[in-house]
Amino acid sequence: MTRLYVGRGMPAAVASPSTARLDLLDPAEVARLGGLEVVTEGIVEGFLAGLHRSPRRGFSVEFAEHRMYQPGDEPRYLDWRLLARSDRLYVKQFEEETNLRAMLVLDTSRSMEWSGAPEIRLTKRMYSERLLAALALVLLRQRDATGLITFDESVRRLVPPRARHTQWHLLLRELMATPPGRGTAAEPALRRVVEQLRRRGLVVFVSDLLFDPPLALTALRFLRHRGHQVLVLHVMDPDEVELRGPAEARYEDPESGQAVVLRPADWADAYARTVQTAVNEWRAACRRQGISYERVTTDTPFGLALRQALVRSTGLA
């Protein structure tokens, strides 16, 4: 049995994996169900099935195919003729022209390889990979050209945006092939995005943002000035939001080696305020530049995270 999430922190009824929507399950449990490809498809299917609005929107909409009506589909897309002939409910699906070039930018630094509870939660990198894979699948299904950049101290992988059928698999392969880095240097990666997106497009920047903001913000602002829609997904482990640990511990940054010795019980409150301040500063800085900002914790079901991301980036859902 698997716990079914209907919202963050809201446990709902229990369902079997076969009938559950994977996009609403606990991310760690979903990850255990199979490989990245299979799981991501499941997530996207569930996610798309739960949308009340068709994801296909564009300027030149052409009919593509029929599919069985599912609860939640809008009645206006019912093929009434087919209903009259066959007495079956079909909805018409349309293809839209590729009108968007999306670039997914993933932070693969060492800090992303961390989970506060490895037994029950994905690392930030694993979570981000699955989230980006799902997002890429959604975008590619919309015929949006989608590319990928992974980076740590420098750019590690670059997949130019394409709308081909094989693009998604290519993206997955590059995601998986990117080794863990050490430090983080976001600004060069974002500069490379500019080179890849000649026209107005979408940039999804996924990172734990554990680096100095000024350069990254400058680059993000530059992207925004070039007319790109920018979404920053700030991935955090729940244990980074609320400080937990032994009575006393030496906390060490895996990237910089910076260490602090303290008692979590004494510092938890002040730490939570510091984190909240940092998040607020990121959010405010992004808002000032017209950049969308979302904070996502690694225990958030993928469907919710996708919804947040897509609402911000494409107006979907």
Partner: protein, 609 residues
């Protein structure tokens, strides 16, 4: 000054160093946790380091103080000026003065009753962990709990004894010497100046006495019947009065069955009354004053021995001795007879002078030996001397004398000390000059002016009277002692009789009685003396000691009124129990510790919610 009931527990204060030592030396290397968001922690630490450091030091201080407070509480801290209800456990000795003077009636109430109430109040305020003693005029420190001592105090009555307050205070301190608790002595007394004396030891003393002025009093300090035995014509009795100056009262003197003689006497004066003729025997003498506020010192007793004049024979050639005997004969102090030989060794009692012819000295010594007399005449002592002034005889020049030698080693060792036990009556330069053994008296010189100056003095005739009527008959033991004081009985004593009750005694043993009155000393069937037990005359002087005098003799003593006896008694040791206060402080510190320690956790919980 803070004190401790269990000072050894203060060793536990070393435990107060544990939090500091743990903080300094027992810090372990904490485990390392990889944490990507360390930059946030570092920022937090920079912003809050000062506050949290202060909090840690406060916690350390609070925990150190907490341990110290618990240890101090266990040590039983006490402070001066504790009240009766909250006093710390204490060792308390109550001196309840029930001496003779406590029977005085002041304001219609006996002084002892005025003292008993405060004593009960003090005992009622005692806690179960107090250690208590009660000391009365009998000089026995009685230890017990509050209830038993209260019962004892209720049963205390005035006794005819004197209580030396300094001695009682010393005794109380000695009794409490082994106690670890804070000690104090409470003296409940009418506080006669005459009862005050310095005390041994040191420690807190509270002196409680009735307020108001003392009552006037007149008592009989002494009663004397002069030299004994009296002759059949009787003698004179003198009574000395003591008490409030200028206080006068009528004194009655009763000798035997004679009618009382009444005279007016004043404090510091002497009253003399003649007895009139009396038949031979022992007669009680009783002097009694008019009743006043203190009745116990208004009566005093003694006894007189009345005897017939000695029947003596003397030789005309002993001119001076014969002349004195004729005078005594004319005055009825001697009668002609063969019972006593004056001047030479006779068949019966004898007063022996050395012979004028030294050639017969050996024969005299042999005769003395034949009589079983242990003294002998030795050689003529070189040089001259003088009689050592004493009760029997004054100082007179002695130009010639024979040495008197005893055959008993004990007496030989005792020579140089004049006392009747050794048989030496009079000494010259420390050497025996007049000695007695049985009914024989030996004189070292002849009673003639060529040998000594005595025959030419006015003391000669009384001296012969002393020899004939007293010394040769054996010393009459007439002792006047306060109740409880010991006296040594004569060697011949076999029993003591008082009011018909016979108590067998051993000769030469100490004797004491707590009952006032006459105790006749028996040697088999003969009465050989009297022990007159009379109140100590110092008890008649009721004036109270000044506070300054009390503080001089008992440094640090507090003088307080009777109505605040309990408070004064338990604050004397000066001790208030601080255990409760320290426990409360420890509880408060524990609360502060909990608040400080949980502050971080509390903030964490709020932030999570």
């Amino acid at each position: 000054m803070i004190g401790f009931a269990a000072p050894w527990a203060l060793l536990g204060l070393a435990a107060a160093a544990f939090p500091v030592l743990l903080h300094l030396f027992a810090r372990r290397e904490p485990p390392t946790v990889l944490f990507p968001a360390t930059r946030y922690l570092a920022e937090t630490a920079r912003a809050h380091h000062r506050r949290l450091t202060l909090q840690h030091w406060l916690l350390l201080l609070v925990r150190t103080l907490l341990v110290a407070a618990l240890v101090l509480a266990a040590a039983g801290p006490t402070l001066p000026s504790g009240g009766a209800a909250t006093h710390a456990p204490a060792a308390l000795a109550i001196v309840l003065d029930n001496s003779l003077s406590s029977a005085a009636i002041v304001g219609g109430t006996p002084v002892l009753e005025q003292l008993r109430g405060p004593a009960r109040a003090i005992l009622s305020a005692a806690h179960t962990d107090d250690v208590l003693w009660l000391i009365t005029a009998d000089g026995l420190p009685r230890r017990g709990n509050a209830a038993s001592l209260r019962t004892l105090a209720d049963g205390v009555t005035p006794v005819p004894w004197r209580l030396d307050l300094g001695a009682a205070l010393s005794l109380a301190r000695e009794a409490m010497a082994g106690e670890r608790l804070p000690q104090s002595v409470v003296v409940l007394s009418d506080l006669q100046a005459s009862a005050l004396s310095a005390a041994a030891g040191a420690g807190p003393v509270v002196v409680l006495h009735p307020g108001g002025a003392t009552v006037p009093n007149l008592g009989i300090a002494e009663i004397s019947a002069g030299r004994q035995p009296w002759g059949p014509d009787g003698g004179r009795v003198e009574a000395a009065l003591v008490g409030t100056p200028d206080r006068r009262a009528a004194l009655s003197v009763v000798v035997g069955s004679r009618p009382p003689r009444r005279q007016l006497g004043a404090s510091g004066g002497t009253v003399s009354a003649s007895s009139g003729s009396l038949p031979p025997g022992w007669w009680p003498v009783r002097a009694e004053l008019e009743p006043d506020e203190l009745r116990s010192d208004d009566t005093r007793q003694t006894a007189v021995r009345v005897a017939e004049a000695a029947r003596a024979a003397w030789r005309r050639e002993d001119r001076f001795l014969a002349t004195a005997s004729e005078v005594l004969l004319a005055n009825g102090r001697l009668a002609r007879g063969a019972d006593l030989s004056l001047g030479a060794l006779g068949p019966g009692a004898s007063i022996v002078m050395p012979p004028a012819d030294p050639a017969v000295l050996g024969a005299l010594n042999r005769a003395l030996a034949g009589r079983g007399v242990s003294w002998r005449y030795g050689d003529l002592a070189p040089g001259s001397g003088a009689t050592d002034s004493g009760a029997v005889l004054g100082r007179h020049e002695v130009t010639r004398r024979y040495a008197l030698q005893t055959l008993r080693r004990k007496d030989a060792q005792a020579l140089g000390g004049s006392d009747a036990v050794s048989g030496v009556l009079i000494t010259v330069g420390g050497q025996p000059w007049a000695v007695r053994d049985g009914n024989t008296i030996l004189l070292g010189s002849r009673l003639e002016p060529e040998w000594l100056s005595l025959p030419l003095s006015a003391e000669f005739v009384p001296f012969v009277d002393f020899l004939a009527n007293r010394a040769v008959r054996g010393e009459i033991v007439l002792l006047d002692v306060p109740p409880g004081d010991p006296v040594t009985l004569p060697d011949a004593a076999t029993a003591v009789v008082r009011d018909g009750r016979i108590r067998t005694v051993e000769g030469g043993s100490p004797f004491r009685s707590s009952e006032t009155g006459l105790h006749f000393i028996l040697a088999e069937r003969d009465t050989i003396g009297v022990v007159a037990v009379n109140p100590d005359p110092r008890e008649s002087a009721l004036p109270r000691a000044q506070d300054s005098e009390i503080r001089r003799l008992w440094p640090g003593a507090r003088v307080a009124p009777l109505d605040r006896a309990a408070e004064a008694a338990y604050s004397a040791g000066g001790r208030a129990d601080l255990r409760g206060a320290f426990l409360m402080l420890a509880g408060l510190l524990a609360l502060v510790d909990a608040v400080l320690a949980s502050a971080g956790a509390g903030r964490t919980a709020r932030s999570r919610s």
